[in-house]
Symmetry: C2
């Protein structure tokens, strides 16, 4: 990646903060401007020396060559028109939102050099306090160009993520949302439903397996309401698939069908074993 | 716990092996006899010095003062009558099976000094190779006497688990199975169903959250078919509860009801946060 002079990060939380720390560590730019709507978050980013300039105002990003949008999905969609009136016409812009179809559709029409990306490196923990320079090292970053995406911008953004040691995969926004609806959004939804299913008075007997299975139910509810609704068509399909599989197992229990139950569980074990 | 001369462990897998290692480390008995139906497992237990004598035959346990049944649930139920014909009349017997009602019902009628127990310290990894002396340290062990359980045996078994540094809780077998149906069996069942719901071609994009949510789907299928069928009445209730909660979330997605979805997710986050 060619060195950049000024990078602006809008949203200095876990992902935005980790990008900033990685850029600093690898000396990939001269100056980082952090913008965040939350004073506390900004102060933390400044204290951690993740950013050189911290501002509550979007005006601060006007001279950036690269703008990274790292707020929740609905905030990206809301701020984009305002940002386009502030930054330079030739500014490169990419986002790190968890859904891609609606963001790429809207932002491609707003910014001439926009690329959608999604680093698969989140956590149920939010905020710059949990940020780390090596968050993306060895992780997967999905890059989701639209047919009209500027090829030069795409190449630069891919180099950016590779410089942060992420493995990049290019796919369409629609394909991204379909895949993530299953591999990420469904397992979050399932964790939310699972924890609701445990009677309160039984919680104190929770073994490690339940704690682990429901860890992501501790994720931010507003962020996840955003993600699930933005990708609702795919998430609805994924939930239906889970409901079908639950019903199949339930049927073997109701019918005391040991052979079929063991067959389903063995197939699950083999499939789970194939996950790297 | 008063020192014991000879302890026999039937089933030298993860739990049986870990008990053996803990007894050795804490010098709580003079001699450990390990019995297992699998040659490999026995050889491994001998190699790890978990047992002093390793045998494929139940006859080896005849002189034990304490017999610990650490095989899968169905094997415990199957071997109990045979074992009762081999051991001494005053021998103390306890099991570590994952379900309790059927085991306690049957074994209380077979052994005069029997106590049901369930250490909540398993893993999706099986076998003595994964055993460790501190597996039970700080963990919870549920002890499930029946109305007719010998009080002296109960007290000895409780001391045994406390000597291994487990926290013990006494409850009825029925209550145990009801609680475990939710806090353990349901989250396993949900993991099995979740991994089945992910299209194969999407698996390579699995983020950490999915790997974690489905870790226990890698558990032994025969063992879990046993557990779920033995506790099917409670597991069926637990699955119904999960289905109800999934349907509630699905409804908010279908109806694009952000307020209700965010409310459900926030309640889940708070509930998950209450897990120690």
């Amino acid at each position: 990646m060619k060195n950049i002079d000024t990078v602006a990060i809008v949203g200095t939380g876990l992902i935005g903060g980790s990008i900033a720390l990685a850029l600093k560590k690898k000396k990939l730019c001269r100056r980082i401007i952090g913008v965040c709507l939350h004073k506390k978050s900004l102060a933390a980013a400044r204290k951690m020396k993740a950013v050189d300039t911290a501002s509550l105002s979007l005006e601060a990003i006007k001279d950036a060559e690269l703008v990274i949008l790292a707020t929740p999905v609905s905030v990206i969609l809301r701020l984009a028109p305002k940002i386009s009136g502030i930054i330079k016409r030739d500014c490169l812009v990419f986002d790190v939102g968890s859904t891609k179809a609606s963001i790429v559709r809207k932002l491609s029409g707003i910014f001439p050099h926009f690329v959608g990306t999604h680093p698969l490196a989140g956590s149920e923990k939010r905020g710059v306090a949990n940020a780390k320079a090596d968050l993306f090292q060895g992780s997967l970053c999905l890059i989701t160009p639209a047919p009209g995406t500027d090829k030069n911008a795409l190449s630069k953004v891919r180099s950016f993520w590779r410089a942060l040691e992420a493995k990049t995969v290019i796919m369409s926004p629609a394909r991204h949302d379909q895949i993530l609806g299953f591999v990420s959004h469904l397992s979050h939804l399932s964790a939310f439903a699972l924890i609701h299913s445990i009677p309160n008075q039984f919680l104190k007997f929770s073994p490690c397996s339940l704690k682990e299975a429901t860890r992501v139910a501790g994720s931010d509810s507003e962020l996840w309401a955003d993600i699930m609704l933005d990708n609702r068509v795919n998430v609805l399909k994924a939930v239906s698939s889970l409901q079908k599989n639950l019903a199949a197992i339930k049927k073997t229990l109701a019918g005391n069908d040991r052979a079929e139950l063991a067959r389903i569980l063995l197939k699950a074990k083999i499939k789970r074993g194939s996950l790297k």
